[in-house]
Symmetry: D2
Subunit: 156 residues, 4 copies
């Protein structure tokens, strides 16, 4: 999960992880199965949450981020062997949720293979309802996204 | 994958499969991992494609259905042991694609746990581009959806 | 995971769970991928541990069963759609460990598809070392295995 | 799946692949789930088969290698984030099968986390029975294992 030199397509993405395609990621059709893309999105999302200081909130107890929805648009079929660069970037932060943007880039094809969007909600597990994204987390996300980050301009 | 008596929530769904939650479907947080929902959607989608006569087109060679995008809205956390009913229904058929609707129902909670939407494109693998949904497949889908099917009223 | 009428091949097995093969369990070769068999063994093992009263020890904290080794002998290739019956039975109990036997039976082929063997160790997570299998668990396992159980005759 | 500087523990292993642990590889107990180790073994095995010229035989049609059995001995619990080095080495070649040895090494713990053994059979899919390992494959394997390879001294 080492950082990898990012191609221009990923320039706006705050977090990029590099993952090898495993042979078993492929299905009957000889391409990486569509479900695997969501495992990769998760890996990039968790890396993002760790870097933004949300890791101590990720116990699934108390208060923490929970995935409310996620979508993938498939653009290219992927095959083993290859390496994918998978990104996560916060596009928008609301009171108790944030919208993440994900990209999957194929190193061998030198092209984007998929695009994803997810909504992460800050959740109070005891009260079983959404709660406010803490200010220190907001600041940490701003730092991660940088001055030209797509997230910044959508901050509310 | 035996048919299961469907609750009212699934009444409009053309295909419903019953799947046990496996212990290993759960993640660190003690709930079924969000990626697993997409495996279940796939299982329901394949069952639908089989019943609508698309199975002989599913070789990944020649012409066949390909997943263009898929989304999941999570509503409830799921735990092992439980059984889920997972549905697939065609909401809309275009020239070369169809929109599917999916529901996941928890038998133990007696409530919907998630909702999904996917776009399936009829694809010509040789030409590497979308192709028209064949008429016999359209008719088969109409039969599957029934007179009150949500698909029918959106047929184009 | 409902109980299923067991074929003679599974007669000696204390716990049998019924699982549908999902389309995505298949790999590039068009057969169920060998890794999936271990997910199924796990499901049967957890069901066994639950029924023998070990579930309250399964938190991964304090004291509980831990998998020390597992093996699978593959006999037949499996395909979707099909249902498999997956069993777990304790063959032998030592001071701090037990040997489990697993079978996988294909309903459509009406034949055994695989055989497994695992060693489960009762583990003290604080001390990070094996600990004695409690007497009440031993008795519960004897009950599960029954008078003709393969486990009984190997009890130590 | 880039080559990684191998620690002494892996010195005798012909093929070593480097894989990141993904967050979702962990289960309810907060450790990498035991099933995942088998996905990793597969990745190393496929890499070995590719390098020994068996890749063109891996279509699952005609003649090709098939997994007959596989075992894992677990030694250490693994956690995210970490990188594992996973190896494959042929210990023994018979007429129609070979025994592979696998190791899993945790980079963060600097220790072996698991050991595996698998039996791969050269299979004639048409005749549905084992067939002889071709001579050119044997020679390629000898080259891969090297003069001090564990495989060499067990060649038959």
């Amino acid at each position: 999960m080492s950082e990898h030199p990012s191609p221009p397509e990923l320039a706006s993405q705050a977090v990029v992880v590099s993952l090898p395609i495993q042979w078993g990621d492929q299905d009957l059709f000889g391409h990486v199965n569509g479900v695997v893309y969501f495992r990769w999105f998760e890996t990039a999302r968790v890396e993002y949450l760790n870097r933004s200081g949300l890791s101590h909130l990720m116990s699934g107890e108390g208060r923490g981020p929970i995935l409310a929805s996620i979508k993938c648009d498939y653009r290219r079929q992927l095959k083993h062997p290859d390496t994918v660069l998978v990104s996560a970037s916060v596009r928008e932060i609301g009171r108790s949720s944030m919208k993440m943007h994900h990209l999957i880039y194929s190193v061998s094809q030198q092209a984007l293979a998929a695009e994803g969007e997810s909504t992460v909600v800050m959740f109070d597990y005891h009260a079983q309802r959404p709660t406010r994204v803490p200010d220190d987390i907001r600041q940490q996300i701003e730092r991660l996204e940088g001055p030209s980050g797509t997230a910044r301009k959508n901050y509310r």
